[in-house]
């Protein structure tokens, strides 16, 4: 045993599960821009992986390729052993198992909060209305917006909308949750209410991929930090080690800019 090993992360749930999301040598271009370069990443069941890095480093794109909202040019992505299929019914089925939370919430504007959380259960999972509504109310209570169920998204604050979006994704009982900068569009005072929900999810053992600028969340909730820059994964480490003793110069430079001001 090395002497630096007694940290909170060693006591937390170790990522011992089997591989759930595997990216194998993934490459993607936007025109001339090589946004993802030779990405290899494995996310285990029950693991919380936080992806950080400067803007334009490809971290959002990486997150979106996992449920094929972005296609890749080469390389393979598998979820629970199944390679991502082409656009179609099979892909839709696979996406149902992958929850996604967007930066701009993307709640369905013409449906109430309750309907937002019910829709996937009804139309994709084919549940009956009563049990879908029951589950939706349960989840809305769990994220603390139960009293807003009959309002429309535009009537809610950003923090409330994002929590509804999390509930909407959870309603599908996903195997993994993707968070694409979930707090970046929020006013500062609303960031914590969303992070608290995510912390709770992480504690409950949900497999999570979180693209974020919230270093506090990365420190406290992540099993592993993935640092990206210029389309590459530059460094992967457990959070304590990454934040106190980053190996790469690129990461040192990044951390010095965001942590000291």
């Amino acid at each position: 045993m090395s002497e630096v090993s007694v940290t909170k992360n060693d006591e937390g749930p170790a990522p011992t599960g089997d591989p759930l999301v595997v990216l194998d040598n993934v490459n993607k271009h936007f025109g001339a821009l090589h946004v993802l370069q030779d990405i290899d990443l494995t996310i285990h069941r029950g693991e919380v992986v936080v992806v950080i890095g400067p803007s334009g480093s490809g971290k959002s794109t990486l997150c979106r390729t996992i449920n094929r909202l972005e296609t890749v040019d080469s390389g393979g992505i598998t979820i629970d052993g199944k390679p991502l299929p082409q656009e179609g019914r099979e892909l839709a089925r696979l996406r149902a198992d992958v929850g996604m939370v967007f930066q701009s919430f993307n709640l369905f504007a013409h449906k109430t909060v309750l309907e937002n959380v019910m829709l996937g259960q009804l139309k994709v999972r084919r549940k009956d209305r009563a049990s879908a509504a029951k589950r939706a109310r349960e989840l809305l209570d769990r994220v603390g917006v139960g009293t807003q169920a009959d309002k429309y998204p535009a009537q809610l604050s950003g923090g409330q909308q994002q929590r509804v979006a999390i509930a909407r994704a959870l309603a599908m009982d996903p195997k993994v949750m993707l968070f694409d900068e979930p707090t970046s569009a929020l006013d500062p005072e609303m960031i914590n209410e969303v992070l608290d929900v995510m912390q709770q999810l992480a504690r409950d053992g949900m497999t999570m991929v979180v693209v974020t600028h919230e270093m506090g969340f990365a420190r406290s909730a992540a099993n592993r930090v993935v640092f990206m820059a210029d389309g590459r994964i530059v460094e992967e480490a457990e959070p304590n080690q990454f934040f106190t003793n980053p190996r790469s110069d690129r990461a040192k430079d990044f951390l010095s800019k965001i942590l000291h001001h």
């Binding site: 019914r89 089925r93 504007a109 996937g120 994709v124 429309y152 994704a169």
Partner: protein, 215 residues
């Protein structure tokens, strides 16, 4: 002056004829237009190509030419013995569907792309996403151009009169052929068209007010 009162039954028939051909074509145009718009935004290339060809062909062909095709070519190939009304309805409906399609497509592009992404990420298929998420939110934007399109359709239906369909313009032509003063005849005709077109604008104004989506 007597022509207006003496031929009231004919004018009434013409009015009802215009109403019928306009209504029937509008239904066809609306259904086809929405379906073709779905084709044009579909992820399946052959459907997209079909949609593009449909719009390019029908929107750029003079309506009179379409009527000629519908009256003289279509019965030879497809609908043997179809009535002039059915053929006119097909010509007008298909022609107008190309305009409806483009209006719907413009509406679709006003719905933020995140809405469709969220639906797809829940596991909804393309068809479900379009039907349940995108089109309902596009409706409000589409209403305005749609009312113009249907008013144009009402007036375009006059061409059907030249192809043996009983409608307002045909009645006007019949009476003017009998030697009556054309200006007088057009008083009733214009009034009848105005009734229909004002009714269309009214209905759409009502719909617009009721279908606001708060964002």
């Amino acid at each position: 002056m007597n022509v207006l009162l003496d031929y009231l039954p004919q004018f009434r028939d013409g009015f009802l004829g215009t109403l019928a051909i306009t209504g029937a074509s509008a239904v066809i145009a609306l259904v086809l237009g929405v379906v073709i718009a779905g084709f044009r935004v579909s992820p399946i290339p052959p459907l997209r190509a079909f949609g593009t060809a449909w719009v390019a062909l029908l929107r750029n062909t003079p309506l009179t030419l379409l009527f000629l095709v519908a009256t003289f070519v279509v019965p030879e190939l497809l609908f043997r013995g179809a009535s002039p009304f059915v053929l006119a309805m097909l010509a007008l409906g298909c022609y107008t569907s190309s305009f409806v399609c483009e209006a719907v497509r413009s509406g679709i592009s006003t719905v933020p792309v995140g809405q469709a992404e969220a639906a797809r990420s829940l596991g909804m298929t393309f068809g479900q996403t379009l039907r349940m998420i995108v089109l309902p939110q596009a409706t409000r934007t589409v209403l305005q151009p749609l009312s113009s399109i249907f008013i144009a359709l009402t007036k375009n239906s006059a061409i059907a009169g030249a192809f043996s369909v009983t409608e307002l313009f045909g009645v006007a032509k019949l009476l003017s052929d009998k030697g009556y003063a054309i200006a007088l005849i057009f008083l009733w005709v214009a009034l009848a068209y105005l009734i229909i077109t004002f009714a269309i604008s009214g209905v759409f104004r009502l719909l617009e007010r009721r279908m606001a989506v708060v964002r």
